[in-house]
Each structure stands twice: as C-alpha cells, then as structure tokens.
Symmetry: C2
Subunit: 410 residues, 2 copies
C-alpha cells in the first residue's frame, strides 16, 4: 500500500521550524533552553495538537505527541532532537522531529486509530552545543541516565548551569527522573545522513543497521622546549615531531583497515606555540570509530600500541584520557527488517549502512528496540548552515518511516 | 699578558642589573621602553661614568660609553642588548652589556688610554618580546635600517606604537636617523650560547665564526572540514594528516643533512579545532636554519619541494609567506683570528662554532667587521628564568673579549 506524504507540508514545516533561531539565510542557532528553543518546542507542541495528537512536555523538556492505540501496551515512538549546532542547519535533528509529526498525522488521517500506541517526540538536547560537558540530555533523561548532580555541575560558557537554564524555562531539574520511560517498545529515529555515501550511490534513503562506536582520546605528549637555533637536532626531545609521527600512524590504522573504520585528529594545542621554540608539549585529540564491536577493540589496541611505541622511542612522555567512549550500537534486526520491507513496498531505493555519527537512538537502545532511517545529505555536509536535504529525499525517508509505523502499529 | 678580570665585580653587576625587572627568584621581565628598561639603561649609563667612560644615550635609546683613543679614527665597539624575554633570565643580552663595561673598565684601569677609540654599548631592543613585529630595534637604528613609518606601525599588545613608547621615555622617534653610526670599524658581541654544545664539550668559551641564517615560513594548508564519523577516510581532504606528513618530511631534511642544519615546527593553529571534525585548515610555522649560505639554499629548496609535493598528492591547497628571512652572517676572519689568539694567550679552552640564534651582530655586520664570543650556558637553556652562566665562565669569556680589545686598540 503506497503511503502518500504531503511534500508541500514537509517543506512548509521545515521552513517554519527554522525560523526559531534563524541564522543568516539558511542557518539555525538554537541551543537547549534558549528563547528560540522554547519557541520551537511550543511550535512543535502546537503542531502535535493540530495533528490530533495529545501533546505534553515532559520533566526535562522533551515534547511528546501521542496517538493512543486501541489496544494500548508498550509504545512505538519516533523523533529526533530540536537543538542545533552553533550555527547548524535546518535539518540536523529538526527533520526527524518533523518526520515524526508528519508520519503520525499522515497515519491518523489515512488509517485512523492504530492498534498500538504511537508517539512522536521532539528531544530537548543532543548537540552539546551550549553545555559542552554533556549531550543526549533528552534521551538520557528518558532512560534515567542523568546523574543527580549533573544539573548543577554542567555549565555553559557564561557559567550558567543546565539546571538554572531549565528553571528559566519553567522546568524543575529535581523532577528530571519523572521523564524516564519504561514503556517504550520500539524507537525509530529519522535523521539526515551527515555524510556523502547516499549521494555517492545516488540513493535517497539509508536503513541504519548500527551506530558506530565513538572514543575520544585526549593525548598529552611532553618533550623539552629548546631554542630552535641553538639546540642541534640530535639532542632534541621534540613533541611536535613525535605528534606528527603519531598522527600519521593512528590515521594510517584506519586507512589500512579501510571502511567503515575512521580516525580523525581534529584538535591540536601546542605549548608554547612559538615559531622559534621546539615545543614543550602537544595536546591533541584522537577520534576513533568503528561500528563493529570486535573490530573497534583491535583498532584501539593498535592505535594505543603505536602511540606508546613512538613516544617511547623518541623519549617523550605520553598520557591520555578518554572523555568520550560510546560503544557501538547495533540496530534491532526486526526493526531493520521492517524498515527494509517498507522501503521495498514503497518502491524507494535504499541501502543498509551504519551511522558514523552518534545519535539519541544509541541511548534509547538501552530500553527499546531501535533503528534509524537516513535521508541523503547534499555534499555530505552537516553542522553548517549549508546542510541541505531535498524535499524529495525528505519525503522518501518519511514515507519509509510512515510505512514502517503503519506495519508495526496497525 | 694575562688579563685579570674581577670576578666579584662581574657577579655583582649581573645581580644588580637583574634587579631592574626582576621576575621571581632568578628571572627578568624587561621589555623595551618600559620603566624597568629606563632604570636599567640609567644604571648602565651610571656605571659607564663610574668606569671613566663618557656615557651618552643615542636617539633610539642605546646607551654608549666611550673610552677615547689617542689616535681617534674608526671605533672598536662591544656590547649586547638590555631587553629581555617575557620572562627571560639574567644573562641573555645583559651579560654582553656587562662584559663591554667590565672590559673597558679593566683596560682603562690596567692599560690606561688606548691608541684607538673603544666603545661599550647597551642596545635598546633585540628580543621582539614587547613589539612582536620587530626586533633588533637598537642595532637596526645604528645601521640606518629603521624605515620612516615603522615607529607608528609597530604596536605592542596594548596597541601602543613603538614611537609612542619612545616618546613616553623622552625619545623622539623623528630623530631615530641620528642614531646611525658610520664610524664603526669592528664590533664584537659577547653573549651566552643558549645551546648545549659548549657544555657537552666541557668548554667555557666559543668563538663564533658565523651566525646562522634564519627563515620563518608561515604555511597555510587548506583541505575540507568533514564530520569525523560520517565522512569515510577515502574521500577526505584532511589538512591535519597532510600537516603531519609535511612536518615529518621537513624535519627529516635537517635530520638527514645533520648538524649544523636545524628545522623546527614550533607553532600550529588548527581550524575549527574540534575533536569530531576533520579540520578545514592548518596554519603552521617552519623555522629553517643553516650557517652556510649555499647549504641553506639547498635546504629551503628541498623543504619547499616536499611541502608542494605532499600537499599536491593529497589534494590540499598550500601557500606560505616568509615573514623572517635573515641570511647567514659569516664573522670577519681577522676578528675571529684575534679572538682565537686572545683565548690561546689567556689559556682559555675554546672552540670555533656558529651561532644558531640570531643576534644584533648580524645587523652591525652591514657596517663593521664583526665576530662574537659565547659563554657556556647551563643545560643549554635560554629564554627562561632558569638560564644560567657561571661566574667563572662569564669571566673566562670576558677575559677573551678584553684581551682581544687590548690587542686591537692598544
């Protein structure tokens, strides 16, 4: 049965939601608990109501819209996050919020009351763009993984705690535990791909069978600062030269294993950072990802071995922390199968793929069966006002989501 | 004839001069035209007077002390700079100022009026530690190489121009051309080595036969920022990976040619410098030095070829500027011979060596015959409050300087 989704409605919702925190021509700057965020969540709640869903804001600020099923029971939910990068674009997160709204509205209009209860959700925070020490605030609240002290400890650049920011918008951080859900059976998130694979393969849609693991190392490499002219090469303990060799080696590990392994050195700080001084210390990050749980262990072990070996051979001290360490999150095979069946049924070309980025879904996977739908990203761009997903591709992805929900809930 | 230098006097002068701008236990923070600088130059002028020299401050703030010769004619001068790093130590520059004072005082006391005129000088600025866009302000004034617009253009971190800073201490930048000297025949600078070579060879003194060339490249390497997870390795244009290969290669050029070639990558700036983003741009410095004029041309050519080759192979854009490009400065062979003869005569072990750092001497070499004397640096340290030259080594170097001046001027 072909699901018809209103392309005009999708386009209008994308543009209207992007007004809240509009940045330049096509950008969005909408951080958690900001006035723009309040306006956007209020807008979503109003749209939920207009679509015939029962709208409510939970204790952490997620906005839910419920289409109650005739049989009740555990819930099938869909959605994504409402906050953006600084600046971000119109699609990252927002498209998944709109997709949930459009899917439930379409199902209600075309098929009436479902057998099982469906919910759409606009999650409050995912990007860590305002509160750098956290992310997944909305989905962590849903699975009960916000620690009691966090609302006071996590602060934005102006020093405001996330708890104070919540109070400013009428939310009581003491009540965060009330946002916990223990009645979710299935969660499906639609999101833009944020990468080039679908575009390169000329496919509008991806069915996500795993979210990659992500580990961030923060590495300190310490040598000895020396005068760039007066100290001969032979006696140097140059952490920059050591860093260069390490960066080449750890990136080389991902190049050698080939896709889907990726490794990025994205941040580097050099001290004292002077043209005429051999540095004293280089601090850098290593972002190492692989969607396969066994492969990633081998990847980390090889990279750590290389870092130790190179530093040791050069007489440099090395140490690291891993402030972010998310395991790979395989999708539920029955949900993946439902998505694939729906795509085939709707005649929409797709491929199975992993997600190279992290998503709220990997938190919700702790309490529900999950999978994701990707929509093609122009030029693979994301986290920028230039990110773009065509209305046609957005509609194709929403049709796959809607058809899947119909199959599961009716 | 053995020259006797008063070690107690040398030690006292080092400690007293270091009071002006004292920083912590052993450091000095004395930038050009600061109140500490004024006090230090006034102190030096007073010491010149007490030593029987005719003291005067020139139009740029250099302080000269003259011991007129019975025959007059072109001048034989010695000295170094009074300003420091931020913070620096007690010896860099200051020891050469004190050495000139002690040498002329000793000669006058022990040998009376010279045949040729001797001058000691405390140069106003060498380190570029306050006005980052310049250095060698004192010696450039002496050779007439300060451009008319510079006093207004060069500013410190607070936005004050070097011309305004001069006016604050009673100097008129319009009169800088009056500091030019066309009557210098010989200039000898005593300086701490700032490197480990004399210490490693257990020698108190070095006779400098050349000052290295110094070229600073500022290199921009531009790729394309991408999501660290969503963009596979294969399609990346990663300027950080390119930077790592380039840094290894250009440092490798100096390692392969061996001493005295040196190459340092000391400053790196990454944009956007985020753990989860392939960078867009890496800007870095390359400090490439060699004391031999032909060898350095080959070194630069090879390094430029490697940078272009690596960037090109990786699809990265590369461009650079060379904001600092000082040619190698060979010492005058007759002055070197006089220094070596004096060291031998005084029974002081020494070696000939090049200077890996830049010095005022390389400017004054444009109008006079020059050479330098190095005093051993503990642990090769410099540009830090921990820099140290023992009183014994300072006295040994001053004896070589004094004996040389005696030989040349009496």
């Amino acid at each position: 049965m072909v699901i018809d989704v209103d392309a005009g409605l999708v386009e209008r919702l994308i543009l209207e939601l992007a007004r809240h925190g509009a940045y330049g021509e096509t950008g969005v700057w909408r951080t958690a608990y900001s006035p723009e965020w309040v306006a956007a969540q209020d807008q979503v709640a109003a749209w939920f109501g207009e679509a015939g869903l029962e709208a409510r804001r939970d204790a952490v600020g997620n906005v839910w819209g419920t289409l109650a099923g005739s049989e009740g029971g555990p819930v099938i939910a869909t959605g994504s996050h409402i906050d953006s990068q600084t600046p971000g674009g119109r699609y990252d997160g927002a498209l998944g919020v709109i997709a949930g709204l459009v899917a439930l509205r379409t199902l209600r209009e075309q098929f009436g009351t479902p057998r099982r209860t469906l919910e759409a959700v606009s999650l409050c925070e995912e990007e860590a763009s305002r509160f750098h020490a956290t992310n997944f605030w909305g989905s962590r609240a849903i699975v009960g993984e916000i620690a009691p002290g966090e609302p006071d400890q996590i602060r934005d650049r102006d020093g405001m705690s996330i708890g104070e920011a919540m109070r400013e918008v009428g939310l009581d951080p003491e009540r965060i535990p009330e946002a916990r859900r223990d009645d979710l059976d299935i969660f499906i998130e639609l999101h833009i791909e944020q990468g080039p694979i679908l575009e390169e393969e000329r496919l509008p849609v991806g069915v996500v069978d795993a979210i990659t693991s992500i580990r961030h190392y923060v590495i300190e490499l310490r040598g000895r600062s020396d005068h760039a002219g007066a100290r001969p090469m032979a006696g140097r303990l140059d952490p920059l030269a050591g860093f260069a060799e390490i960066a080449t080696a750890v990136i080389g590990v991902a190049l050698e294993s080939g896709a889907p392994a990726v490794t990025t050195v994205g941040r580097v700080e050099v001290e004292p950072n002077l043209p005429s001084a051999v540095p004293d210390k280089v601090t850098f990050t290593l972002d190492s990802r692989h969607p396969d749980r066994q492969a990633v262990d081998a990847q980390h072990a090889r990279q750590e071995q290389l870092m130790r070996e190179i530093a040791g051979r050069r007489g440099l001290e090395i140490s690291w922390t891993t402030p972010l360490d998310l395991p790979a999150c395989p999708s539920d095979s029955s949900v993946v199968a439902a998505l694939e069946q729906a795509a085939t049924e709707q005649g929409i070309p797709y491929r199975r793929m992993h997600s190279g980025a992290g998503h709220d879904t990997q938190n919700i996977a702790k309490v529900a069966k999950t999978a994701m739908v990707f929509a093609r990203s122009k030029d693979g761009r994301s986290h920028t006002p230039e990110e773009l997903t065509s209305v046609e591709d957005a509609v194709a992805a929403i049709r796959v989501l809607t058809a899947t929900l119909r199959q599961l809930a009716y």
